[in-house]
Each structure stands twice: as structure tokens, then as C-alpha cells.
């Protein structure tokens, strides 16, 4: 009881007496959490956007003749054996003709004289999309060529390569800047803790000399750290949420179609981020008082 009272008194006194540096610490942590979660959000959404952008990615396997139902089953089986796919579509010569004429639109009368089987039948394979799709597609294409009755395998090679190279570049950029930032924020938080210790060094020194118990000295720091962690991370996430809404607004306003569904963190992730910050800040300032309780 007495201990609790004393710790409470110490903590509130510190909060009020050093409110300037408290605000600074809070700002630092808020900014750090904001930066970190911002990059995390961008990264996790990037994967998503990458997927959506590659939506029409498919391998077209031209066959020399229309496959019957059993043959279709066999193709399907062989394809699935090699790699997971999103879906497989069989396009008969007639379907292909139909499509082509739709594509030509008003000019479709030019096809009038053609037999509706002049285009070869094909299988369209939609591979499961992921960030390493590019190399997988190449291997897939090579494999499909070895299947019997396959004339030719086509995919938007150039476009796919460009797109995935771009995505990869983006990934490197995001990861690198993320690393830089985590480095920076770690430095900042460590620095801030050091600064707050420095400003209370004399007090801790004195407390040690007058025989304060280790808990008496450390618990206020622990509580303070936990509070900084909590309010800082909550603030940072709130700022991120505001930013997120702003982006969405700005974003849907400027384009015709809201193509990308940009999502915020689910509550679980929010909880994890907050508890992690609390833990980090609390233990950070707790550990940093180590040298003062010695002797």
C-alpha cells in the first residue's frame, strides 16, 4: 500500500515536472510507431495490389485439336500436378472465334467468310499469383510445352516481365526504407530513453544514496515507459488511420474505378503493435535503470 502510494506519487511527479521531455518522448514514439506501421501497411497492401494488377495474367496453351472430356480431365490433372493454379479454362475453337469477333466489334463482318473453327482450341491457365510469379510462370510454360498435343504456349511475356521486375523493385525499395526507418526509430527511442535518464541521473543517484529500494527507483520508470508505449503507439496508429482515410479519399476521388481495395490493419494486428510498443518501451526504460541500482 505504502509502496504503491510512493510509486504513484513518484510517477505523477515525474510526469508533471518533466512534461516537456515527456511530450517529446511521446512524440518520438508516436512518430516511430506511425512510420513503422505505415511501412508495414504499405508492404502488406503492396502484395495485394500486386495480385490485383496481375489479374489478367494467364498462360494460353494452344492445342492442335479439340480435347474431349477425358482429355480435358487429363490435362487438368497434369497441370495441377505441376503447380497450383487459380483456375483452368478450356476454350474451344468456337469460343475463340466468338471472342475474336467480339473483339473486332463493328468490324466482325470481316469474319463472315471464315469457318468458325479457323482459330485453334486452347487452355487458359491462371496461375496462383505471388511475388515470384515471374520465374514460376517461365517454368510452367516450359512444362506445358512438353504436354502432348500442345502447339504453343503464350503469355504476355514482356508485360509480365516488366510488371514483376517493377514489383520486385518496389519490394526492395519498401524493404530498404523500412529497414532504414526501423534503424532510425530504434536509435531515436534509445536516444530518448537515454536523455530522460540523463535528466534524472542526479535524482536516481540521490535515491540510491538515501537507500531507496530497487523497486522504488525502477517501478516509476517502468510505468512511465509503459504509458509512453501505450499512448505513443495508440497515437501513431490513430495518425496512420487518419492518413489511411485521407489516401483512400484522395485516391478514389482521382480515378474512375476504385480498382484496388486498400485495407487497414485488422484489430488483432493493432493489438499486437500496441502491446509490443508497451512491452518495448517499458522494458527499455526498466533495463536502462540497471546501472543506477547497482552498488
Amino acid at each position: 500500500m505504502n509502496f504503491l502510494f510512493a510509486v504513484f506519487q513518484q510517477t505523477t511527479r515525474n510526469l508533471f515536472q518533466t512534461w516537456g521531455s515527456q511530450v517529446f518522448t511521446l512524440l518520438t514514439i508516436t512518430l516511430s510507431v506511425l512510420i513503422f506501421s505505415f511501412f508495414y501497411l504499405v508492404y502488406s497492401n503492396m502484395l495485394n495490389v500486386g495480385k490485383q494488377l496481375g489479374d489478367d495474367l494467364r498462360l494460353v496453351v494452344y492445342l492442335d485439336e479439340e480435347p474431349g472430356p477425358e482429355l480435358q480431365e487429363e490435362y487438368r490433372y497434369k497441370i495441377l500436378k505441376f503447380d497450383r493454379v487459380d483456375r483452368i479454362e478450356f476454350i474451344s475453337s468456337k469460343d475463340a472465334y466468338q471472342r475474336f469477333s467480339t473483339q473486332l466489334g463493328e468490324d466482325k463482318d470481316v469474319l463472315a467468310d471464315m469457318p468458325d473453327t479457323f482459330l485453334p482450341p486452347s487452355i487458359e491457365v491462371y496461375p496462383v499469383r505471388s511475388l515470384d510469379t515471374l520465374s514460376r510462370i517461365k517454368r510452367f510454360s516450359d512444362y506445358l510445352m512438353t504436354l502432348p498435343g500442345v502447339l504453343k504456349v503464350q503469355y504476355g511475356r514482356e508485360w509480365v516481365e516488366r510488371f514483376y521486375t517493377f514489383i520486385q523493385l518496389l519490394r526492395i525499395v519498401v524493404i530498404l526504407s523500412g529497414t532504414l526507418l526501423v534503424l532510425t526509430t530504434t536509435l531515436m527511442v534509445a536516444h530518448t530513453i537515454r536523455l530522460s535518464l540523463l535528466s534524472r541521473q542526479d535524482e536516481l543517484e540521490l535515491l540510491r544514496l538515501v537507500g531507496a529500494s530497487s523497486h522504488y527507483m525502477r517501478t516509476p520508470f517502468f510505468l512511465e515507459g509503459a504509458m509512453h508505449g501505450f499512448f505513443g503507439s495508440t497515437g501513431g496508429l490513430f495518425a496512420l488511420y487518419v492518413l489511411y482515410n485521407w489516401i483512400q479519399l484522395h485516391f478514389t476521388g482521382s480515378t474512375v474505378l476504385p480498382i484496388f481495395s486498400f485495407t487497414f490493419f485488422p484489430p488483432v494486428i493493432l493489438m499486437i503493435i500496441i502491446s509490443f510498443s508497451v512491452l518495448l518501451c517499458a522494458s527499455g526504460s526498466f533495463i536502462s535503470t540497471n546501472k543506477f541500482i547497482r552498488l
Binding site: 505504502n2 535524482e203 540521490l206 537507500g211 531507496a212 530497487s214 552498488l295
Partner: protein, 253 residues
């Protein structure tokens, strides 16, 4: 008086026991050389000696701010070099120290500065306030209760340091040059306070240059000279020239 749980040997009368203690700072400063001292409970003892003789060092050994290089330091029957951290913390709460460099927290008020020693011992706030008021009255600082320590004159700061040292009614009071910045009259007040503490049972070790505060008493005086024990006598108050220390004998130890 100082007691962790029940201590059987607590009937002993010895508060401080220093035996052949040497303290050296690297590389080659010998602050104390083979010093021995034995202070009984309830005693007042003065420590004198030229500047740099080792007075502060001796006091620092007693609250384990520094550790001796050689020898034995016992306080309240405990060998300090063997005391665990938490027990040392408890022991320190029984020792009140008025540091020579004050160690006040400049941004805290006078009251907050004095309260510290009582707060770490979990004293009740009302008690603390009453005690502080009384101490400030005694030291002539009644109107400085809420003044930040940085806005005090040096002498006022020194008095606050002394008030802080005695606030928690410690069993052992270490006062390092407690009146260096005080005039004659204020010095009198401080000595009054010390005597009062002594009457309540506290043992006092006072390091000082001011002969006037011990010349009219019959307390023991220990003189250090370049880290060595020069002169140790409860009666004589005259300074003596340095001589071979090792050949001195201390009958009453």
C-alpha cells in the same frame, strides 16, 4: 537500533568499526592509509584534518559509496563488504548523510528535497510535512518551504542538506563540513539540531574544519593527515604537528 529482522548481537554498543582501512584511487592517490576508528552508539565524534586529508573518503566508505581497498568497515555490526544490495539499501535508510557538495535537486522545492529521505522509507505524507516544517523552523528557513533549491543561497542550501540528512531520524548521521557556508549564528542552530538528534539516540560523525564547533566540547576528535590517523583524543583540542602515526596508541579503542 539498526536491525534487520531480529539480530541477537544487537546488544553491542559499537555503531561504527573501522579497522586498518586503506583506500587508494588509481593510479597512486592514497586517500586513507591504515585508518582505524571505533565509534560507540550515541557518541558524537569530530573528524578534522587539512583539505585533502581523507575525511570525505572515510565518510563515503561508511555508506559504501566507495569500497575500501583494504581493511574492514562495519556499521551497526554489519561488514559492509559482505552486505547484499537490498540490505545495504535498508541500512542506508538508517544513515543520514549531509554531503559536502549538497546533492540537492535544483528544480525540486526545499520541502521535496527534504522529503526524499522520508519518502524512501515510506513515511506518511502528513508526518513528512510536519517534520519538514519543524526542521525548517529550527534552521531559520520557515519561509523557504516552497522555494526551488536552485533559488537558495549557498548557506540555505547547506541547511536544507542537513535537514534532509536528519529528517528520517537516522541512527547514524554523517555530516561532511556541515557549516562551511554558515555564519556563526546559523552554525549554532545547526549544532543545536545535531545535539537534539544525539539526545534521541543518534550517533554523529562530523567532518569539519571549524575548530570553534568542537573546541568547547569534550567529544573525541580524530585528525587525519595525508590519509593517516594523526591524532585521536577526546580531551585535547589543540592541533599537533604531524608525527609517526603508526607509533600512536589508542587506549580507548
Amino acid at each position: 537500533m539498526i536491525s534487520f529482522r531480529k539480530k541477537v548481537i544487537d546488544t553491542s554498543d559499537v555503531m561504527v568499526d573501522i579497522i586498518k582501512v586503506t583506500k587508494s584511487y588509481p593510479p597512486n592517490v592514497h586517500a586513507l592509509i591504515d585508518v582505524s576508528l571505533n565509534v560507540n552508539k550515541g557518541e558524537i565524534i569530530f573528524l578534522t584534518g587539512m583539505s585533502g586529508a581523507g575525511k570525505t573518503t572515510l565518510l563515503r566508505l561508511l555508506s559504501r559509496i566507495e569500497r575500501q581497498t583494504k581493511g574492514l568497515v562495519e556499521v551497526g555490526g554489519y561488514d559492509l563488504s559482505k552486505l547484499s544490495r537490498s540490505k545495504m539499501q535498508k541500512l542506508r535508510r538508517k544513515i543520514g548523510t549531509a554531503y559536502q557538495d549538497f546533492k540537492l535537486l535544483p528544480e525540486r522545492t526545499v520541502a521535496q528535497n527534504i522529503a526524499i529521505t522520508m519518502e524512501v522509507a515510506y513515511k506518511r505524507p502528513i508526518l513528512i510535512r510536519k517534520r519538514i516544517k519543524k526542521l525548517l523552523d529550527q534552521l531559520g528557513l520557515q519561509d523557504k518551504y516552497n522555494t526551488p533549491a536552485s533559488e537558495l543561497s549557498r548557506g540555505e542550501q547547506q541547511r536544507v542538506t542537513i535537514a534532509r540528512a536528519v529528517a528520517n531520524e537516522p541512527d547514524l548521521i554523517l555530516a561532511d563540513e556541515p557549516t562551511g557556508n554558515l555564519d556563526h549564528e546559523t552554525t549554532g542552530r545547526v549544532m543545536e539540531l545535531f545535539k537534539e538528534c544525539n539526545k534521541k539516540g543518534a550517533t554523529l560523525i562530523i567532518a569539519t574544519h571549524d575548530e570553534s564547533i568542537y573546541s568547547n566540547t569534550n567529544h573525541r576528535v580524530m585528525e587525519l593527515y595525508q590519509g593517516k590517523q594523526m591524532f585521536f583524543d577526546s580531551q585535547s583540542k589543540k592541533r599537533q604537528l604531524p608525527s609517526f602515526v603508526d607509533e600512536l596508541s589508542f587506549g580507548d579503542l
